[in-house]
Symmetry: C2
């Protein structure tokens, strides 16, 4: 991992660009480092395009005491495309423009190779990020392509909680993987999401094996997630990614560690 | 309205028992009075039985700067029963014990007369409570029999926001009333609620006419609502029941008025 840029966004958040095996990424750390880490997922539109929304989420997480990091997805931004993904994207565009249903084979071709490539990269990034002195404790995964979050939650034991956005196509095989997810989940659903199958999203929520899972559905389309939903997600992580664990001496003495009962402002 | 008892729960919450036209009720006011009011609904099990859960909710609301009040429901506690309701309750018990579906006519007989009686009583209580110097501003309705909340939100213009618990039988005619609800809604659903039809609850959420509505579904049975859900509801009311309105001079100067962006702790 090599840092390529560094800037203070304000006196509370340090933003650093990095590359890891040729993959660009961004790390945001709060003043209260060492801090637990949340990996920020995003749709495959390129880091540059997604930057404004990512930095807003990074600031929200930093306010709750979390470091955040994100990686360019395979086939996005400056990273090389692969023919099968380009073909799947073209097939998807045609189906959507024709108003015909998007077939399973298109969804599989679009999502599964992306998951297969992105998840090991996220794990390699975790190896590098958790070795930094700024980062410590359990890891969260938040948002982006929900199938990447599902696979990562299944195969990566360092993920302690996941906030998922039920707003993208989900291959049928991911429902089986979803049953094997056991970490606490916070699932966001936009009730009127134009391109999303609401019933499939509800079925997926039902399929997750986690004992603790919350579905937060808001009226509005794909891009209409209210600000309060971001705050709810940050509080979800604050409840579940406590570090050091409460049983260790000294827990509760840091500013960003609070007990659930003490959260939520003036009380 | 006549006060019948008074005790300080701590230095922040004053609890007063009252009667209004022979109906017993309880009013909780925070130290920061005058405060906006939330009417606390509850299942028809009697105020005495419900007291521990009600007082916990009242404390949570007081911490967010809200006064709360609750009334004994018609046919509950010491209040006279009526034969049709007793019959409906017996029919319901028989259906549940036999494992047979609960027919529409049982649900209608159980819920509609209760709604018809409880809603005017809640409105009369609002008249009396809003005349008190401790209470001011818009009113919220929270929890309890969801059909009472729906009717009240439709017919009572002083209700500015409602937090509803999708955990009880809903007559089919209430779906039509739900379409006429326009205030911001926060709907709680226990995903594994034994006695509740999950699909009906999702259909009801979909039916509500409100532009701003949130569904918060958590794993667990009817009685397993997590503490964080209560905190989420309190924050929902804090976002929507601002008083005095933000446009009036002096808004923001009281401790319990905050802008959405300023909520959620350390930032």
């Amino acid at each position: 991992m090599r840092f390529t840029s560094e800037q203070h966004l304000d006196d509370r958040v340090l933003e650093r660009g990095f590359t890891l095996g040729g993959i660009p990424g961004i790390l945001w750390t709060p003043a209260s480092a060492p801090a637990p880490l949340i990996l920020l997922g995003h749709p495959p539109l390129g880091l540059r395009t997604m930057y404004p929304r990512l930095v807003a989420r990074a600031r929200q997480c930093a306010a709750e005491g979390f470091a955040t990091a994100t990686l360019e997805l395979p086939g996005s931004g400056e990273r090389p495309r692969w023919p099968a993904a380009e073909q799947a994207r073209a097939d998807l565009r045609r189906a959507v423009e024709a108003g015909s249903p998007v077939g399973d084979e298109i969804v599989d071709a679009l999502v599964l190779p992306l998951v297969d490539r992105a998840v090991p990269e996220a794990q390699a990034a975790l190896d590098a990020l958790l070795a930094l002195p700024d980062i410590g404790g359990p890891v969260g995964y938040s948002g982006g392509v929900i199938s990447i979050g599902i696979r990562l939650a299944v195969v990566e034991p360092r993920i302690g909680a996941a906030g998922l956005f039920a707003g993208s196509f989900v291959p049928r095989s991911m429902f089986e993987e979803a049953r094997r997810v056991t970490v606490p989940l916070h699932v966001l659903l936009q009730w009127d999401d134009e391109g999303n199958d609401r019933q499939a999203a509800l079925d997926l929520f039902d399929a997750f094996g986690s004992r603790e899972k919350t579905l937060l559905a808001n009226t509005g389309g794909h891009a209409g997630v209210p600000q309060s939903a971001g705050e709810d997600a940050a509080r979800f992580f604050a409840r579940h990614l406590r570090w050091p664990p409460p049983s260790r001496p000294g827990a509760g003495s840091r500013g960003w560690i609070t007990t659930p009962g003490a959260r939520g402002g003036r009380r």
